[in-house]
Symmetry: C6
């Protein structure tokens, strides 16, 4: 709210309106906009399809949080952002929620593969988070039917540093093989699912990406309209 | 007791009665109530069936400590609590006691599986404690017939930090495979047992959960009455 | 001796007699008595049979130190104590002595198994010490015919902490498998021997345990009398 | 720019011209020239073919950044430098870019092998960077079809030292075997490609190396002319 | 020398003679005598045969340093000592010297086995040193025909503690298996050799041990006489 | 130079001549002479053949640096020294150079084996350095045809100690097996080569060693003369 008031003041407005608060929230949650950053057309295009992949998968996979905004304006260290906001505060997550998250995360890479037949380093962070979630599903939340309701690995908190540093491995190599195989199975199945969803809706994917290239930001309603078949031009208005 | 006197004073009572002491004990043992925390109906329902699972298994499995209270009012970091209090102070625990503990811990997850055919992250802590107990049974207390009266792993106390940090592995990979297999066997057998007990008493499970959704807290007598077939309404009074 | 004088003074005695010194020695060697500790009858009974198991095996196995006293009065962190004192100071121990020690340590657990068909966490410390002795026999003292006069593992003293912290593993996984197998063989053979000795003398075991439940402490002579077939009543006098 | 001004001042120039800025840039990016360093003719010749290998592969492999300058004047700790500058700032890199980088890095060693049938320690740094890139492609950016969009290894930042120190291995030995095999496959394929490109253009390679021995530095245009078949003499002018 | 002068002074002698220097040397090299230490006859006998084993093997095995003195008077932490002094200062040792050392070290245990058919913890230190020497022969000095002139393991000196703490393992598990097998082969062959030598000279072994029990200390000449067949009585004079 | 001036001054010379500088250089590069050190004839002879082995192999193997001096006067911690000085400063080394270095290092041990059919601890340092070089060839410089242009192991510099402490193993056990096998192949081939060279020139080897025993130091020319068939006596002059 503070940030919003500052933004309004900077624009010499009398009142802080909703658009100021929206901008403030974006700044806090996604980092400051970096409009001055110069990207090649190729990178812009790549980013647009990457974010469109996230956004479309998030709309199609059951159990995913609703998309609030998609943008290809660089913010912080990201070239683009797809922002999801849950309908209400949540304290526990189901296996379905977790699989949906991983599928959405891999939607960016899947889109690049489908459209450009290429992989980029830009998906590195998505892949890291997917792997981490899959590992937690299996090792902390007992969500693998094969490995059952057992936890693997023991956190070693190092108090003097104020945070957990390493995961102590307390299982056998044979179990490590099973865990690896389950993690890779989960990630690969989500990746396949993301590709399948985007392949089946490839025209929608292209419409979202092209609109993003055109107007750079899409909110939830605009995204709805494009998915419903409206032209980018109609969605813009 | 101190806490109880404070609670009584806050209510302008003349005397500290049993209800004050009960509240004080709950606060100390389970953390402060967080009535202001907003949960979705889905999470409430999930929590009710999770706690009902713990409570019912605790009543059915031989060797478990008696249930003192079940609640779905969030306390500390937990969305709900099933509190067990042993009949008397105990210094040693039998293998039967330990298996009962694990079975009760897994009763929450088992209930969610039976009722919603879903797993949630909420059972993560139960699973971690189950695995830890199963591992101690096998590695510290010699309670595996297969591995015999031998201890595995050596505690490495780090004095300068005032607490034990890591378990030093002093056995071969082949032994690690056997330990893993025994830990998973114990946990899986307890999980199966919890499911079997709940499946055979699924109507009772539903009555407990629905009453919890209705009145949020159940003490030992109320739980008895519901198990004995009384309606939630009757139990309430 | 100091402690004995204090005890005598506390009882307003003129002289420090043998019973004061005995009490002082017990306090120093086994921790202070905790007569105020409330144990359930079940735990008392369990403790009595556990200690009776230690004591009887110590009398039956060749190479064990003589039993000086058996008690089920809690002392320090132990619920009961079987105290052995060697006939003279010893600087080296034979393989036979070591096997006897392990067999005596496992006599407690063996007795619980035979009488109650149950295992408890109370034997955890006995098992830990048995495993440690068996490992030292094999890895430090070259007492395994299979592995020969070779040491395994290198102590890493950390001077700045004033004590040895970890045992550095300097052998292959294949050797680790052999060591594990030898450690388990030694412990299991001693456990079987303890069970066999107690099974063959089960009536004596019961007489010792029941007398302990009755009079709580047995000295060497009383133990002799019970083993010689005297009734607890006779032994008491 | 500062450095360029200093250079101009040192030469008593009135203005800072492009050549001053170029020298300044080289000094900052590649370390100071070490013209005083005495190399044997053999080492000079080796360096010339090594750098010519980098430069020619960089011109031939798709996805590589353009070559800006090649030199066999020692700079910093390097005996020679091939400098590549991307056409525009880039934030993400494709799999093709990464493979090109590795192939260029291995071009130096490949050239030495082809011309002298010898390997030298001088390629150590190129090989280290190639291996690192190949490992990142597979373990951080999910660029291996065989291992899929999964990350392997967890960075352990040690805050108190202000930088990441070690990569925590969180996968099984079986996975480690797959990773090793993929890393070596990628590096070997790039090495083979570099050799193939140089073998097919061995006359060009020789012309570049001989010109370097002659005039020590080649800029982008001179390199173009030599590749286009001009004689070193023509390129010099 | 200082220590010798002190000893002479304590005896009110006018001069420091050879016997004072001998006592001083023993004190410095083997620790102070502990004549007050009470050992059982069994332990005395065991010690005598243990030391006789060391001494006799040292006389029989080629490449061993000459025996200077044998004693069963406890010194420092040892119950007995066999002291060997090389004929001249040596800077390098041959493989034959090393094998002789190990064989002498294992002569104590071998003697106990032959005479008492028993093993004791007293040989723990001999075994540890044998294993260490065998490991160094193989891993540091390239003295294994099977493993060749290669070193295994890298010392990690930790400067801030002023001494080497751990041996870093830089080889594969497969190599570790070979090393273990070679270490055990060397130690076992030396042990067999020690047993063979003692078995073939068992009467001499007994004469040495019995004389030690009688007069507690034997110097080189006395040892010679006993080996040459003189009676203990003759040797005493 | 400073050291040379001091030496000249100590000899009351007017000028610092070449012999002073040579002595100074030896002192700085090889440690101070220890003429007072008493060695047995056996050790002297062993050292002479050891150094003669290094020197002769260095003359025979292609790619080795020229021998500058051989001596059996103890210096620093070494009983003898063979000093090689490259013809010019070198910044990179070929695979041939590295193999030559290892072969020269193993020439000492090979000579002892051929002449005395014995191994000594004196070759420990040579073996350690050979293994280290072979490992670097394979793991850092990509000089193994089997493992290719890939690096293995990641240096972990620990800044606060000012130096690299450990080599982080970032490869699989299967790769470790291949590395070990390559390291051992390289070292064994060089050892065989050293033996072959010495065996084929055994008379020259003996002449060098005997001259060393006679005059203790040989410079490059003297070494040449002995190899050319001159008698030690002729070489002396």
């Amino acid at each position: 709210v503070n940030e919003g008031a500052l933004l309004a003041a900077r624009k010499n407005k009398d009142k802080v309106d909703m658009s100021d608060l929206e901008s403030a929230k974006d700044k806090v949650m996604m980092g400051a906009e970096r409009r001055s950053m110069v990207m090649t057309d190729e990178e812009k295009r790549n980013t647009a399809y990457h974010e469109a992949g996230h956004a479309l998968v998030a709309r199609l996979v059951p159990g995913a949080d609703p998309v609030h905004k998609v943008t290809i304006i660089p913010r912080g260290r990201a070239l683009g952002v797809t922002q999801q906001i849950p309908e209400s505060d949540k304290y526990t997550y189901s296996k379905e929620n977790m699989l949906a998250r991983i599928t959405v995360l891999l939607g960016g890479r899947a889109s690049e593969e489908l459209i450009f037949d290429q992989m980029t380093t830009g998906a590195g962070n998505d892949i890291e988070r997917s792997t981490e979630l899959a590992r937690k599903m299996i090792c902390e939340w007992g969500m693998s039917d094969k490995l059952g309701p057992v936890t693997f690995g023991k956190k070693e908190e190092q108090i003097f540093l104020g945070r957990e540093i390493s995961q102590h491995r307390d299982y056998s190599e044979a179990t490590a093989v099973e865990i690896d195989s389950e993690v890779r199975r989960v990630v690969n199945e989500c990746h396949d699912e993301a590709r399948r969803l985007l392949q089946e809706n490839i025209e929608t994917l292209k419409r979202i990406a092209e609109t993003l290239l055109d107007i750079e930001v899409l909110n939830a309603e605009q995204l709805d309209e494009i998915i419903d078949g409206k032209s980018p031009k109609e969605a813009k208005e």
